[in-house]
């Protein structure tokens, strides 16, 4: 469905159920150069189990028009504005990769609008290598290839997918390739530059879940562990997966979220 956020239409997938703002709401935030469909399984599950779901397309991504936001803070402000636009007092925010930084920053600066926070494939900081940034800046296919290949566990083409008949790498590559020129670079540069104050993270008082992939090639497993250690009371779940846990370990990711968000 569409909302108007900061003056522009904003698309959010509601998990194939009519959006009901009286239900406990969950906002799902995707990663760099991706869209709402990375949450295909999880968003649909929660929408059919008593939640109002908004799996967003961030501005300039997927079906949401509008100018690209070039900082994590600007994206977090947009999420807070979306929660407003959807008529919600509070929502739980679940973010993946870049989306986890957006979710965290929304918690840090708009904490009164958040119920719970889930960070998947997260790392603070989230440095992006110079070669990756350069390829993205030049809109090179190599940038898509880096995000696709490093975005999954090593040699993921050679193993069976949990989604029958789907090539996780192939589908992910095509989703990435749909991003408009400039989107990947803006997103990666925003990730690379984001440096929240360590004391603010340590002062966060919000029920938080951190999910890390043992075979993550993009956000180091240890970085996820460390982040969970910094946030007071944060729960930590380790999955046998790469960076794209939602498709690489869809059931386990759902289980972790289900335990945390029920």
């Amino acid at each position: 469905m569409q909302f108007i956020v900061q003056g522009y239409p904003a698309y959010a997938y509601t998990g194939a159920k009519a959006f009901d703002p009286t239900l406990p709401a969950i906002v799902f935030v995707h990663g760099a150069a991706l869209d709402h469909s990375v949450w295909q399984w999880q968003s649909r599950y929660f929408a059919h189990h008593g939640h109002a779901v908004l799996a967003v397309d961030l501005p300039g991504h997927g079906r949401s028009p509008g100018a690209l936001r070039t900082t994590i803070e600007a994206l977090a402000d947009w999420i807070a504005a979306l929660i407003d636009a959807a008529g919600l007092q509070r929502a739980s925010v679940v973010g993946h990769s870049m989306g986890s930084l957006v979710a965290l920053d929304t918690a840090l600066r708009h904490g009164d609008r958040l119920a719970r926070l889930a960070l998947i494939g997260a790392s603070i900081p989230m440095p992006v290598g110079e070669a990756f940034l350069a390829a993205a800046r030049d809109n090179s296919p190599a940038g898509i290839e880096m995000e696709t290949v490093w975005g999954h566990a090593r040699q993921s083409l050679l193993i069976g997918s949990h989604v029958p008949g789907l090539s996780l790498l192939g589908a992910s590559r095509q989703l990435n390739a749909r991003a408009k020129p400039g989107v990947q670079y803006a997103d990666l540069a925003a990730c690379n530059a984001y440096r929240p104050a360590a004391e603010a993270v340590r002062a966060l008082r919000m029920p938080t879940l951190v999910v890390a992939g043992k075979r993550d090639q993009m956000a180091q497993f240890k970085a996820g562990q460390a982040l969970a250690g910094e946030i007071p009371g944060a729960e930590f779940v380790a999955l046998d997966a790469g960076h794209s846990m939602m498709s690489e370990a869809p059931r386990e990711t759902l289980d972790a979220l289900r335990r945390f968000l029920r």
Binding site: G160, P164, R173
Partner: protein, 432 residues
């Protein structure tokens, strides 16, 4: 500035490994044959979640099966696609593609040079369901352009036509497809993912008769449909089956549910569910055995074909040989550009003496088997005008590049000298 991305495995490695992890239950290294109709649900919640697509997994082997999935994911990896759906036959794959994209009133523009079975489906059967096809010469881009109407929903051709061995100019047709916001589907049965990668050349969907080179041993019937994941159904606006709510699945909008795999979702959730032309697990296992050696076999098929083509082209009793290896073939340059490793182990030729000489020739062969198939380890021969394409009238035959005297060969893995000896003897017999 030049950038290089991370490496992914080569086709030879994908052919052996892609889509399969050692069996978690037993450690079996080979792909287990999950010969089961159904899969037990651990609890009622999981059962409901599986049915409502809230969690992925296997429910019933008409929709998906672990052995079949390995085959699907292996082909998807070899083709560089977003995913694949295995079907009961190549014909079932073609039908699945068509009915997923269009209903009554839909129109297809197809190459006139097609396998006879595909021609039957388009020319005689689909019109009964309100779907019509305009056939055009595979080489006449202007004719393709003229044939596109506002109702056109698909362009279709064979990467390498059977039996005329014409080569489809995929990049050119891809441009036309994009101009009209319709997808290009190619049948890559003859070229296989080892000789060409149609999705990289610009096709949007690829299908195979897996009965042929993929399986490679002439022991099963199977097909597969691969989605490149690149076509933008929403922007096109011509595919309500993918962009509007589907009452058959609680109002699901497939293109919202999955941006890159909407086509596959609908094809599986409607097409396999309702039309039911699924692949059996044993069939998938046998095709997978073939795929493991596909890169090796294709090298030998192509090497043998080169020798046979050169031999036939030098025989006085052969009027004409149709194969792009020959500089006289109209697609020689195109084949060199798009298929540097060779493009076809199928060839056709015209014998002097027409139909009668053809009959004598086929009956004198001993090593070549006279049957209706291609892509076997064994070399095969057939007379298309009286068999695979017998429902075509003379005009349609001519459009498909077939004359009454055309003989089609599918070159196998025997020693090339033995094949040539058999052909030489039968050629002499044909002229007696």
């Amino acid at each position: 500035m030049a950038h290089s991305g991370p490496k992914t495995p080569h086709s030879d490695t994908l052919a052996v490994h892609a889509g399969q992890s050692p069996d978690p239950a037993t450690g079996a290294r080979a792909v287990p044959i999950y010969q089961t109709a159904s899969f037990v649900f651990p609890d009622t919640d999981t059962a409901a979640s599986l049915f409502n697509m809230e969690t992925p997994g296997h429910v019933y082997s008409r929709i998906s099966n672990p052995t079949v999935s390995v085959f699907e994911e292996r082909i998807a990896a070899l083709e560089g696609g977003a995913g694949a759906i295995a079907t009961a036959s190549g014909q079932a794959a073609l039908h699945l593609a068509v009915v997923t994209l269009m209903g009554q009133g839909g129109h297809i523009v197809a190459s006139a040079s097609l396998y006879g079975g595909s021609h039957n489906l388009f020319a005689y059967t689909l019109p009964r369901f309100g779907i019509t096809t305009t056939f055009v010469s595979s080489r006449d881009l202007a004719a393709w352009k003229r044939a596109v109407t506002p109702q056109t929903r698909l362009l279709f051709g064979e990467t390498v036509g059977n039996p005329s061995v014409d080569v489809l100019d995929i990049p050119a047709l891809s441009g036309l497809a994009q101009e009209h916001a319709i997808p290009l589907l190619v049948d890559a049965t003859v070229s296989t993912p080892c000789l060409g990668r149609p999705l990289e050349q610009g096709a949007h969907l690829v299908m195979h008769s897996a009965t042929k080179f993929l399986s490679g041993h002439g022991v099963v019937i199977g097909g597969v449909l691969v989605d490149g994941g690149r076509f933008d159904w929403v922007r096109s606006g011509k595919y309500p089956t993918l962009t509007e709510p589907y009452e058959g699945f609680h109002g699901m909008v497939f293109a919202e549910e999955s941006t890159a795999a909407a086509f596959l979702l609908r094809a599986r959730r409607e097409g396999l569910r309702d039309f039911g032309a699924c692949m059996a697990p044993m069939t998938a296992f046998q095709i997978l055995q073939g795929i493991e050696t596909l890169p090796l076999r294709m090298e030998r098929h192509i090497a043998n074909t080169g020798k046979v083509v050169a031999f036939l082209a030098a025989q006085p009793m052969v009027e004409r040989v149709h194969h792009p290896d020959l500089a006289t073939h109209p697609d020689h340059a195109l084949a060199k550009r798009d298929y540097p490793k060779g493009c076809s182990a199928i060839l056709a030729f015209e014998l002097k003496g027409g139909r009668d000489a053809g009959r004598k020739f086929i009956e004198a062969l001993t090593l070549f088997s006279h049957l209706a198939n291609i892509g076997d380890a064994k070399s095969l021969v057939i007379h298309p005008a009286s068999t695979t394409h017998f429902r075509m009238d003379d005009a349609a035959l001519a459009a498909a590049g077939i004359s009454p005297g055309t003989v089609r060969l599918s070159i196998g893995l025997e020693h090339a000298d033995d094949l040539i000896e058999d052909l030489a003897r039968a050629l002499r017999a044909s002229q007696r």
